[in-house]
């Protein structure tokens, strides 16, 4: 007897090129159409064919945004998938696979599933992915309607025959799944959330892309590097609809300099890269600092140093963005914890960049970007586009000294003035100078805005009990996993705090960190944010829960890490 009342985790494993992603995409869409909360995340190797990849699809009674280690149902498309996922296969895991894929392996709940035979029966071995989705839907007790509708759209261009064969494959799989459920007394009674009229299904790249479009971004120049490429691709696809200039740069140095040129001329510009690519952009960040040209930088983090693990996840580039560029100047670092938040934060990033004439970083990571989750359309926030561009007059001076250090921003060709911007230290008119008095004023001018930025900083969001002796801090993509772990733990002495703005920190946060025990949870090896909290807010961190294997934290892992402490 297997009964899943609140949630179920289904994992598809196979080689690159076998269609693991295609299956998961189809299933997730069908589940969403049936009104379920779904969350999917993917781990894959840095190769195009072969290897071992997997996608986890969670169906949950509540909205969830985290990876779980435990597998309730595994659909293994090859023998390697079973080996690859061995540690995650438990006593209760139902393993659907061809018999010869599990030969010699001890699996308690193995279900011999003739994917290939069904596919052949439907007309060709290529239909085995369709069979797999059918099996899972049958198992879940979900009707085939939505899937059949999906298939007829998906394969419409390939003709009626192909659609018909897919339908047959889906039915064969579905019947098998239904029978298996009955025979093994498998019951899934998770209630659909019934949010479908308002529900969108997106991945992290799309969330960022929607935010970027909503911000009125008009320029991106970038050089492909996983996992930063997704945003570039998204904007390229939308370039015509939204008049966005999309340039594939010859290298990251070019990308950031082009973005600054475009921004100087009045565009809202972004670059998207990963830590390794960003390392090449550093001189550009310094240039943005001295020229006060606004720019938004998206870093999709992956494990370093150097090439590291190209397709894996990490939160290891906080220090890189915090310290990037020589000299002292301002910057802002944001890190969204959910897709809805990402959409809003990107808009905020552009507004801050324009208002404060500074660089705003948006940090995400592979886990976040490749995850798929439901987003309620009504929750998508639109911020007004605030440009702060003025029409220049004849006496315009780009770096006019003002009380708050911010000079009205003009752009070339708009007004009667001329706009001179300079990477050298410069005077108010933008001409290079070596006058020490001017230098002193300009250094102050460029740093002054940090204070205003910290007053405007987003406060961390707290969850769990209102008063707790221990506070677990996380940032960026770890919000979902910490929230869920705390819910599982149900402890009165343990609360969570999620930071979506990492720098500068609000002066108010010292007061929010009143707990005796401050624990920091980060996907990196040294606790970069813990160090920053200590540096800028004087927070004494009593414990760091860190992980830098290239995998995201699982809910179980965080629960265990927090339990450990209780026993001490």
């Amino acid at each position: 007897m297997h009964h899943y009342a609140d949630e179920i985790s289904i994992v598809f494993g196979g080689a690159a090129g076998q269609g693991v992603q295609t299956i998961a995409d189809a299933l997730v869409k069908v589940l969403k159409r049936n009104g379920y909360y779904v969350f999917a995340c993917t781990e894959f190797m840095s190769r195009i064919r072969g290897g071992s990849n997997s996608t986890e699809v969670r169906i949950t009674g509540k909205e969830r945004k985290a990876y779980v280690r435990g597998i309730d149902v595994l659909v293994a498309l090859n023998a390697e998938a079973v080996d690859h996922l061995e540690e995650r296969i438990g006593e209760a895991t139902l393993v659907f696979a061809e018999k010869d894929h599990v030969e010699g392996k001890e699996i308690k709940n193995f279900i011999d599933t003739p994917f290939a035979a069904f596919a052949k029966q439907a007309g060709s071995p290529v239909f085995s992915n369709t069979v797999a989705v059918g099996v899972v839907l049958g198992l879940l007790g979900i009707s085939l309607d939505a899937f059949l509708a999906y298939l007829s759209v998906q394969f419409a261009s390939k003709g009626e025959e192909v659609v018909a064969k897919n339908v047959k494959a889906a039915k064969l799989g579905h019947d098998f799944g239904t029978e298996t459920a009955a025979r093994n007394r498998i019951q899934v009674t998770i209630k659909p959330a019934d949010t479908s009229p308002d529900e969108l299904l997106i991945d992290g790249n799309t969330a960022l892309g929607i935010g970027t479009v909503a911000a009125g971004c008009s320029f991106i120049s970038s050089y492909p590097m996983s996992p930063g490429t997704g945003l570039l691709t998204f904007l390229a696809r939308r370039a015509d609809d939204f008049d966005i200039i999309v340039d594939q740069a010859e290298d990251e140095i070019s990308a950031i300099n082009a973005a600054l040129g475009a921004s100087y001329a009045g565009a809202r510009a972004i670059v998207s890269t990963s830590g390794g690519g960003f390392a090449l952009m550093e001189e550009g960040i310094s240039l943005a600092g001295v020229t006060e040209v606004p720019v938004v930088v998206h870093i999709g983090q992956r494990p370093g140093p150097a090439t590291g693990l190209p397709t894996r996840t990490e939160q290891g580039d906080l220090n890189l963005s915090l310290y990037a560029g020589h000299g002292d100047f301002s910057r802002v670092i944001l890190a969204p914890g959910s897709f809805v938040q990402a959409i809003e934060l990107v808009q905020r990033a552009f507004n801050l960049a324009d208002k404060y004439q500074t660089t705003v970083f948006v940090l995400t990571d592979q886990f976040f970007l490749d995850s798929v989750a439901s987003v309620m359309k009504s929750e998508i926030v639109r911020l007004p586009v605030e440009r702060h561009i003025i029409r220049t007059d004849r006496d315009y001076k780009r770096y006019r000294l003002t009380k708050n250090g911010l000079s009205p921003r003009g752009v070339p060709g708009y007004g009667d003035g001329i706009v001179k911007t300079d990477s050298h230290e410069h005077d108010e008119s933008g001409h290079l100078t070596e006058n020490f008095g001017v230098r002193r004023k300009m250094v102050h001018k460029r740093l002054q805005r940090l204070e205003q930025l910290s007053r405007e900083a987003l406060l961390p969001e707290r969850f769990g009990p209102a008063k707790a002796g221990s506070l677990v801090i996380c940032w960026g993509s770890n919000r979902g996993v910490l929230e869920e772990a705390l819910e599982r733990l149900k402890r009165k002495d343990l609360a969570g705090l999620h930071f979506s703005q990492l720098y500068p920190l609000s002066p108010e946060i010292s007061g929010m960190l009143d707990a005796k025990n401050v624990i920091v949870l980060e996907n990196n090896a040294t606790g970069q944010f813990a160090d920053l909290l200590n540096r800028d807010a004087g927070v004494r961190v009593s414990r760091k829960i860190l992980k830098a294997t290239g995998e995201p934290f699982s809910v179980e892992e965080v629960v265990e890490a927090l339990q450990e402490r209780q026993h001490e």
């Binding site: 008009s218 040129g261 001329a265 009045g266 020229t291 001329i418 001179k420 001409h431």
Partner: protein
């Protein structure tokens, strides 16, 4: 020209950092006069430069300026041009900046072919950092760093541009103000990525390639030279005995990057979000 009427591109009372006698002065005059004679509106003119002695030029011109980083004039210039194609964009820098530190950008600027004019002050040396070899230094030249003489063959910007099918390639010599001005005017008027390599004597660090050397080792292409013949241009580009001056290659066939990207004439500071497209996009994720 300069002496007759005030040139609106002149900067009043600016202390110029170049050494007396430097070829950059003549080049500055040629550039400003070209702007004036082309009747450019200084509000719509952006001069982008990198770092070096040459790169200081826009500091001394009354027009918009983005004086960026060493080697990075071209990416910035591209960003400016794409963000507002109504602007006239000039990228101006030294041989080290354009062909050394910025070499990759140079290749790809020509490949993209957006409408800018690239003016390279080719003094065959690193002036600002006090006399090391540049990519165009002649073999054998002794410097404070190459004390046994430059060992490598010089970079040939004309041949490289030709290989990339740059639509406009010219070479000038700063010593000849009038002719240089005429070439710059033609380059700016040309729609596309125009490359102008200008020999510029550095009187302090290059004692070999002097005003006299350039006079003796260059010649102007004859009036009957056909600049549209790419093969012929190649022959000219690889001549070493005497170096040809003038418009070496020009052809109208290449499309502009801004056209290929379908960029409109609405400057991006006026960019607006299409709400209809936004709504439609969200619906795709149902």
């Amino acid at each position: 020209m300069n002496n007759m009427t005030a040139n609106p591109f002149d900067m009043q009372g600016k202390d110029i950092n170049w050494c007396p006698g430097c070829g950059n002065y003549k080049l500055l005059d040629a550039v400003k006069d070209a702007f004036y004679e082309l009747d450019l509106d200084r509000r719509n003119l952006v001069i982008v430069s990198g770092i070096g002695q040459a790169a200081k030029l826009p500091q001394y011109v009354n027009a918009n300026m983005f004086n960026g980083l060493h080697g990075r004039a071209l990416p910035v210039a591209m960003g400016v041009k794409l963000a507002n194609r109504n602007l006239v964009v000039i990228a101006e820098s030294g041989d080290g900046c354009m062909y050394g530190e910025g070499g990759n950008h140079f290749l790809h600027a020509v490949r993209r072919n957006y409408d800018i004019t690239v003016i390279v002050h080719d003094n065959m040396v690193y002036g600002l950092t006090k006399g090391q070899a540049s990519p165009t230094s002649r073999m054998g030249m002794e410097t404070s760093l190459q004390f046994n003489g430059v060992m490598l063959e010089p970079f040939n910007p004309v041949a490289v541009s030709l290989a990339l099918n740059a639509p406009f390639i010219a070479r000038a010599s700063a010593g000849d103000g009038e002719k240089t001005k005429a070439i710059i005017k033609e380059a700016i008027s040309f729609k596309g990525c125009s490359i102008v390599d200008i020999f510029q004597p550095c009187v302090i660090f290059n004692k070999i390639n002097t005003y006299q050397w350039f006079r003796e080792n260059t010649y102007y292409l004859p009036d009957d030279y056909d600049p549209t013949d790419r093969k012929l241009a190649f022959e000219k580009a690889i001549e070493t005995e005497k170096l040809p001056l003038g418009v070496i290659y020009r052809h109208e066939g290449r499309e502009l990057y801004e056209d290929l990207l379908c960029i409109t004439h609405i400057p991006s500071y006026e960019h607006e979000i299409s709400e209809k497209a936004f709504e439609k996009m969200l619906e795709e994720y149902r």
